[in-house]
């Protein structure tokens, strides 16, 4: 029995590298000597910073994913997307309304959607991206906010869209509009914000700030969630 680490061959931007089998794409990049300053974030699949494009051996499809969540396979071709320079309109939440007119003004490209579903195919979060763009087209902000809720803004949808829509920024607008104007207001949230502002949790927050990572992590995972 050999304890030798099993290795796979991957092609990083066309260059062959041997990396440990079972590595995520980010680990493969780092093992091969790349220092990632952009295109990497929380490493836990939450932040959406590590959009990646890869192709598996023998498959013609270019696939998208999160580099921290996708495990390499033998013969895989890789590239890391450091940033998506997509358009992000500036708006004042107090001056816009939760309806189709806001979408027309800020994201006119939404109305160019041809329902090809390429965005949905690209989404690493399995979100029905096309469906939330269609909901925006119908002025249904609440539905768009709901369908796009799990978006982590990695930008792969916008990179693939033939109609040049910036889906993830439009989805963010929908969720902001929903939160500000359409969602049922929660009295608990208002009370809690007031309590925080009044300094009720000052001592606990200070304690947490001084805690080391292990203790903080333990406290997080053993926390009690009380629902009324």
């Amino acid at each position: 029995m050999s304890n030798k680490q099993e290795m796979v061959k991957v092609f990083i931007m066309g260059e062959a590298h041997e990396v440990p089998a079972g590595s995520t794409i980010i680990m493969a990049f780092e093992y091969a000597g790349y220092q990632l300053k952009k295109g990497v974030g929380c490493r836990e699949g939450f932040c959406g910073a590590c959009a990646t494009v890869y192709r598996e051996k023998g498959n013609y499809k270019l696939q998208g994913g999160l580099a921290c969540q996708t495990v390499v396979s033998d013969g895989m071709s890789l590239v890391q997307i450091p940033f998506v320079p997509a358009e992000k309109p500036v708006y004042d939440m107090d001056k816009i309304t939760p309806d189709i007119n806001t979408i027309k003004e800020l994201f006119p490209t939404v109305f160019r959607c041809v329902s090809c579903n390429t965005c949905t195919k690209a989404c690493p979060q399995d979100i029905q991206v096309m469906d939330y763009i269609q909901a925006l087209k119908q002025g249904n902000i609440a539905k768009a906010a709901d369908l796009s809720f799990d978006c982590i803004r990695c930008g792969l949808c916008a990179l693939r869209c033939p109609a040049e829509i910036v889906q993830y920024n439009a989805g963010t607008l929908a969720r902001r509009l929903y939160g500000k104007y359409l969602a049922k207001k929660s009295p608990e949230l208002k009370n809690r914000v007031e309590e925080i502002n009044d300094g009720k949790y000052k001592k606990e927050i200070q304690e947490m700030k001084e805690m080391d990572r292990t203790k903080l992590s333990e406290k997080y995972y053993t926390r009690e969630i009380k629902l009324k």
Partner: protein, 299 residues
Amino acid sequence: MKIPYYPGCTLKSTAKHFEISAIESAKKIGIEFVELPRWNCCGVVASLADDDIMHNLAPVRNMIRVLEMNRDGLVKDEKRLLTLCSMCFNTLSRANNRIKKKSDDLDILNDFMYKEDIDYDGSVEIIHFLEIIQELGFDKIEKNVKKSLSNLKIAPYYGCMLLRPKDVGIDDPERPTIFEKFITSLSAKPVEWNNKNKCCGSFLTVDNKEIVVELGNDILTDAKNSGADIIVTSCPLCAFNLDNRQKNIKAKYPEFKEIPVVYFTQLMALAFGLSKEITGFDGNFINPTKLLKSKNIEI
């Protein structure tokens, strides 16, 4: 009768009164609209180019949803897809006819849509609400009229999308009569006029408003001169050009006299004695309430 129903984007935003009046009136004659659980834009304006296959994805995807509804038991062996908006009706019908004739196009589309559970097989039929009414029989409408509209002279406006091209049209493109029969069954009087299938200017309203103002002036003036009190349509775009644009017509031609333009389903709901929340005349740019009161029709 339960039938799959495709609303289209406009009926969920600026033409809600079209949808609500249609759904509620349909119930009275025994038709239940079952909205597609998932649907996307119809594709607005059928693509005519032979090599433009991509713009057929939107309409065909909606047809797959009809097959899904049948699979999931939301409707029973009902592959007809009901539409209200003339533009959606036209776009969906033309795409459907195209892929029925060109199986190569259908293969390409199905191949591209590999994420869908079901391949489209061309088995869906696109129909307009007026066709279903005709099929049930106009006497069914007559029997449900609770409020007489006999004092009302109505000009039926077909526009283009319900009639052309001939292979998708719901009636004779030159001499249509389906709207007239519908109006008569509501107890009102259809007006014979020249411009009932003249184009309203369609999308030119976006960047060439002047043309729409000229066309609108001709159409509306002809309706008035032919004795009409009110115009009915089934197209939200025609409605916008003929109703909302009257303010632009008035600005150019101060002697122009306004005339209400409503969806045919609003008058159906009115004749059926449904409430004003359902007739939804507040949604029309020129509110017909005053006119209807002058004709002794209570809202």
